[in-house]
């Protein structure tokens, strides 16, 4: 018997153990950082900081990161998420304001539906250009990033803040951010954004792990041509990942609007890079083909905890980008090293 199959198997087993090693590295890193933080800063290891502050604030970005993970597993890339979110926020506030005469519930639901639709349409624009026209995702989403931001500026008359005039309606909608659910007792409440993220996470996990759609996404990221030859409609699947990403931007927009009660054309700049960094640090490579939602969650939390720690330790603002940048580099370097070793 040739030992070739045995070697292939061995290599595969090695690969997966290296993957695990990478994940373990991140988890150990997280654990060490947290342990160190709780010793140094009394306020770090508290429900108020970890859940009310850290996780609640990461939720909106986390939802976008879920959509981004789909896009990136399929080998794509989306720079326009920040701008898409801003457009969705403006649409949400403006429709709610326009419909405020028709009853609060109707206004909220109609506005949410329209926002999801707009998110999907913006995603479809990206998806169509990338999958069907065949333009490079970097170029497409870089352009749409600018175009969507411009649309936001035009619609708001040069960046005027949009508000829901009906204060009662606005207060109702803000429950989407402020509501606390006493799931674990009165002292340990969970905020609405965390719940929204959890639901999105479960739906995403189902799509990615238990449907054919999810498997096709991995197949396309692994080897697009092979997937196509195997009969997968690669174009449609790729376009669908961008639509999904647009939808997650719309969901994030709802959380963010609930947070401030307003929408403007500014803000969310540079967020696309934070999302992408989270996905990459988690372990989904730029070329796609592997990774997952769990890893994205871990990656994003690692970045967030570091930012939180820097505040807890009162580190000057100019050191922050340096530390964050170094962490991304180190984690991704470990990933690359591990992969190279596993391929030998």
């Amino acid at each position: 018997m040739s030992d070739k199959p045995r070697r292939v198997l061995l290599a595969a087993a090695k690969g997966s153990s290296f993957r695990k090693l990478q994940r373990i590295t991140i988890l150990v890193l997280l654990g060490l950082l947290c342990a160190y933080a709780s010793v140094r800063s009394p306020t770090f290891f508290s429900w108020g900081n970890l859940v009310d502050n850290l996780m609640t604030n990461a939720a909106a970005l986390g939802v976008i990161a879920l959509g981004m993970t789909f896009v990136m597993i399929a080998g794509g890339f989306d720079l326009s998420v920040g701008s898409t979110t801003v457009v969705c926020m403006i649409v949400l506030v403006m429709t709610m304001d326009a419909l405020s005469g028709h009853g609060a519930l109707f206004a909220i639901f109609a506005a949410l539906l329209l926002t999801l639709l707009v998110g999907a349409v913006l995603g479809a624009v990206n998806g169509t250009l990338i999958a069907y026209v065949g333009v490079n995702p970097f170029v497409v989403t870089l352009s749409t990033m600018l175009v969507f931001r411009g649309i936001a500026l035009i619609v708001t008359g040069g960046g005027q803040t949009q508000q829901v005039g009906d204060l009662q309606l606005s207060a109702r909608f803000s429950r989407l951010y402020e509501a606390q659910l006493p799931l674990l007792g009165r002292d340990y409440q969970i905020s609405m954004p965390i719940l929204i993220f959890a639901v999105a996470f479960i739906i995403g996990l189902y799509l990615l792990r238990f449907t054919r759609f999810g498997h096709y996404i991995y197949a396309i990221g692994g080897n697009e041509e092979a997937a196509w030859l195997a009969g997968v409609n690669t174009r449609r699947i790729k376009a669908a990942t961008y639509i999904l990403c647009g939808l997650t931007c719309a969901v994030a927009a709802a959380i963010l609007v609930a947070m401030t009660g307003t929408a403007g054309a500014e803000g969310q700049q540079g967020r696309e890079l934070e999302v992408i960094a989270g996905v990459i640090v988690g372990g989904t490579p730029l070329g796609g083909g592997s990774g997952g939602l769990g890893s994205t969650l871990i990656g994003l939390m690692l970045l967030r905890i570091i930012v939180n720690l820097l505040t807890q330790f009162n580190v000057g603002p100019e050191y922050r980008p340096v530390v964050t940048g170094l962490i991304i580099l180190v984690v991704v370097a470990i990933d690359v090293l591990a992969k190279r070793r596993s391929q030998r």
């Binding site: 153990s17 890193l29 160190y36 009310d52 401030t260 500014e266 505040t311 330790f313």
Partner: protein, 324 residues
């Protein structure tokens, strides 16, 4: 599987070594970074200063705040919201989680930050508003700072007077949609109501880049040969525009900025730029910290502590010293 791997021998051990070394380096880096920070044991009062650091102006406000905090023996945490109101609200929740004694806030935008200040209100953390306005519906101890709007009105009047009340002007916006940008545009529109013969012909946005202003200015000079004035949101951009005008032989164009930086005051003395309004970021930072300490000591404060914003023109430029 991992265990099986460890038994495989040298390669794995090497990798584990590399990994542990990386971790060690990271931890050391964290230690070094935090070593400089004050010990948590001392009961110093802690003040969060939530602002932006996009421009030398803010850097100087920060220096003023940090210096004053050191003098008065309080600890100040500076956070940079990069003109993003949502990021600033996140930073507010971080301040709440970190249980600071007081927050000095430069609201990135008027209305969205109301919710943020309400959160601080609910957690009984007092707020002092610095430099920019905040919308209605929230409580704060007091306001201190130079009003962007008032300063912009001063600059707009200098421009209108210098132009003799007529001619075409262009406006350079910085960071579309942010608080001062909106206030400064509004100031120009309000002042121009008194000067109906001044016509704004173009509005150019940029994100704080001098080179963008310079290229745009070259284009504008070609397109509007009768251009008579430039209204720039910020000294840096007034100077950039003025350099282009001087090079093109159009030194007759009247140009104003706002802020009163060292470079700008020199430029006004030199005649390169017509004038500007004098803001004092360092003093704003100091004032905010002084008021914070007074409030924490139980003193009763007024609602507003404005920092003056006088006009600077060639006649009086020698009396001023730039704070940034």
């Amino acid at each position: 599987m991992l265990q099986g791997y460890f038994e495989k021998g040298k390669g794995a051990m090497k990798l584990v070594k590399t990994l542990s070394r990386t971790l060690l380096v990271l931890l050391l880096a964290a230690l070094v970074l935090t070593a400089g920070c004050k010990k948590a044991g001392e009961k110093k009062r802690r003040i969060g200063f939530l602002m932006t650091l996009d421009d030398p102006y803010w850097q100087n406000m920060r220096l003023g705040a940090e210096d004053e905090a050191q003098k008065l023996g309080v600890e100040v945490t500076i956070l940079n919201a990069k003109e993003d109101p949502l990021l600033q609200i996140e930073q507010i929740t971080e301040m709440i989680a970190g249980r600071v004694d007081l927050v000095c806030l430069v609201p990135m935008k008027k209305e969205p930050l109301v919710r943020g200040v309400q959160m601080l209100n609910r957690n009984r953390i007092p707020v002092i508003i610095v430099n920019r306005e905040i919308g209605e519906g929230c409580e704060y101890v007091c306001y201190t700072g130079t009003d962007s709007y008032a300063g912009a009105v001063v600059s707009a009047r200098i421009l209108a007077e210098a132009m003799g009340g007529k001619g075409q002007i262009v406006e350079f916006h910085q960071h579309l949609g942010t608080g001062p940008e909106v206030a400064r545009s509004q100031a120009l529109r309000d002042v121009l109501k008194d000067y109906p013969e001044i016509k704004p012909v173009a509005r150019i946005p940029h994100n704080g880049e001098r080179d963008v202003v310079m290229t745009e200015m070259q284009t504008l000079l070609q397109k509007y040969p009768d251009l008579a004035g430039v209204y720039a949101h910020g000294d840096n951009f007034a100077i950039a525009a003025a350099q282009v005008c001087r090079k093109a032989g159009r030194a007759d164009i009247k140009i104003v900025g706002m802020g009163g930086s060292e470079e700008m005051i020199e430029a006004v003395k030199d005649g390169l730029v017509t004038g500007t309004s004098y803001q004092q970021p360092e003093e704003e930072g100091r004032s905010a910290i002084r008021l914070a300490v007074r409030h924490l000591n139980g003193e009763k404060l007024k609602k507003s502590y404005p920092v003056e914003c006088p006009p600077i023109t060639k006649e009086n430029a020698h009396q001023f010293k730039g704070q940034f």
